[in-house]
Amino acid sequence: MSSLSGFDELLVGFGQTLRQAGLSIGSDDILTFCSGVSHLDITDLMNVYWAGRATLVRRNDHVPIYNVIFQQYFLDIHETAVDERKRTLRASSTAGATLEIPNTEQGLPGEISPDEVKLGYLASTSEVHRLKAFADCSEEEIRRVRKLISRFRVTPPQRRTHRSTRSKKAARLDLRRMVRETMRNLGEPRALAFKKRKLKLRPLVFILDVSGSMADYSRNLLQFAYCARRANAKVDVFCFGTRLTRITRSLDRRNADEAMRLAGEAVLDWDGGTRIGDSLRQFTRESRRSRLGRGAIVVICSDGLDRGEPAALSDSMESLSRIAHRVIWVNPHKGDAVDFVPSSIGMIVADPYIDEVHSGHNLASLERLADRLAKVG
């Protein structure tokens, strides 16, 4: 390449500044940018702006950053936007250190079974005496917990795709393969070849209530979600109290304790009120934009004690039921009751849109849930 002219140097410098600001820009992109600008009338700075927008920006949410850098670089305007960014960065790194799980709701109707308490303690890492309680678990209890986990690993839910693979069952003819084989046999078809649809993992979404009354139960399910995530990449986990937080990333750790700790840090409102409707609405909103939750099995863990508008909950449940493949609600108040009638307004309102209700109040129930998850796919 010939030596750079002063103007090209300016453009390359701009690309590099953007790169420093966090946009992923390769040398080839800068090359495209320069050759793009060379096709335009460069006396008008707007041409340079739009050429850069088309060649260097790949995500709509990068546009504000691009705008700020462009102004700084070419117009020498320093706006407060950058300062704001710094501020939010600082805020997010200090806040959210509230890991302490509220140790509440001892007086739930019915007694809490020893199994459940132990499982809850297993999931927790923050307090020494909790670890000790886990150490006190009997062999039998530990064995059951492990069994539960391993079952999760082997049976993630699946769905059929449009793609096909070889099959032994006589269903759909695989003509492509038959032509090949016929050719090898001098035009004599020897056997029929069949194909079948391939199976693909079905996404699994956990939406866990972490407000005071539900925190301990959600911990159990969080442990669940962690195991599922280890076995099957298509698991997404959200927590909510007053608002929804995605904690999936925090679970990508080899060490389960570490993952639980990170997840705890990511959730900001462990001890706030409960706004199920608004939180679910946030979820369905998001899933309109992305594929989130589409065709998924959505597991909601909550007691249905909602401080928000019942109408908001019923609306968002309806949306959710249309997006998701199945909606499963885990409500510890159900207990072992077979003919469970929901009593909280939240549960009554959400009921028409729920496919299954589980209790998740003891190990046996969690095992049943794990079983069901594998089958409803």
Binding site: A51, R53, T55, R58, L175, M178, G187
Partner: protein, 286 residues
């Protein structure tokens, strides 16, 4: 290069002649795509004219539009090529005891061309539209990379086919999922948002020249108020045009509450949204 002399205002103007009102960002991106011979990736809300741009470009340049509609599970046999198995079978049978060679069977004679292969063969005689690429699986994106980067496709039995000249390639995505960076790298990127009111009126009037300016203004105003509401599905420009056309088809020159209620289905297409908008129809039209 045929686009050497073209400038941004000229391109905007000639798009306008074909009733496509583009803003400066879009025109610049399109111009660069034409000049640099790169694919153009359009992302944006539903119904803001992403697909329409490809159509307009093809008519404007007098090129054939080759369209590949993506969907979940699309694979190379629907997108690139397929062998004509029935004819191959017959051919093999007709040879009798002779042995059929690969060359005979897997040659142009039995090759069914699908859109991508057609586009590579047509080169600069066509505009290739890869529509709603976000609906296809991730695997399909990887498969597009060769085409978008080098304008060539590989068929195992035949070899690599390279375009003699570069086709214009336009990809659209509704952003139902994030596209892979590798794909984006090979394209120029533009986000098309909802147009500003003035521009939207301009679009409506150029599409529906028989409609009065007052009605167009009114409808655009109403649609903008709908977009500001808490709806699940926001109406796009296509809906604005449909609504204006519906109102005008009923012989009305202005948007009254009554007419708006009757024709609301042209612009709001979700049952919940429809109920909500009908309840608040006064806020919408005033």
């Amino acid at each position: 290069m045929p686009f050497d002399q073209l400038t941004v205002p000229e391109l905007t103007e000639s798009l306008g002649e074909y009733k496509y009102i583009a803003d400066r960002g879009l025109s610049t991106a399109l111009l660069l795509a034409l000049k640099l011979g790169k694919p153009l990736l359009l992302e944006g809300e539903v119904g803001v004219g992403k697909t329409e741009l490809a159509r307009t470009v093809s008519t404007m340049l007098g090129r054939e539009l080759i369209r590949l509609q993506c969907y979940e599970g699309i694979d190379m046999h629907q997108a690139l090529y397929e062998w004509d198995y029935a004819r191959q079978m017959l051919f093999v049978r007709s040879l009798g005891s002779e042995e059929a060679s690969d060359d005979q069977l897997f040659g142009p004679r039995f090759l069914l061309e699908r859109p991508l292969l057609q586009a590579v063969r047509a080169g600069d005689q066509c505009v290739l539209l890869i529509d709603e690429v976000d609906r296809a699986d991730d695997e399909f994106e990887a498969f597009l990379l060769e085409l978008l980067g080098d304008y060539q496709v590989t068929i195992p039995e035949v070899g690599t086919i390279k375009a003699q000249s570069r086709p214009i390639v336009i990809l659209t995505s509704n952003r139902t999922r994030e596209l892979h960076d590798a794909l984006k790298r090979r394209c120029l990127y533009t986000w098309i948002g909802f147009p500003e009111s003035d521009r939207e009126v301009e679009i409506v009037r150029s599409r529906l020249p028989e409609v009065g300016g007052a009605l167009a203004n009114q409808v655009v105003g109403a649609v903008n108020r709908l977009r500001a509401m808490d709806l699940e599905k926001l109406p796009g420009v296509a809906e604005t045009i449909d609504w204006t056309e519906s109102v005008s088809a009923l012989g009305s020159n202005s948007l009254t509450a009554e007419i708006a209620l009757d024709t609301l289905g042209a612009v709001v297409k979700d049952r919940d949204d429809l109920e909500y908008a009908s309840r608040n129809i006064q806020d919408v039209i005033s």
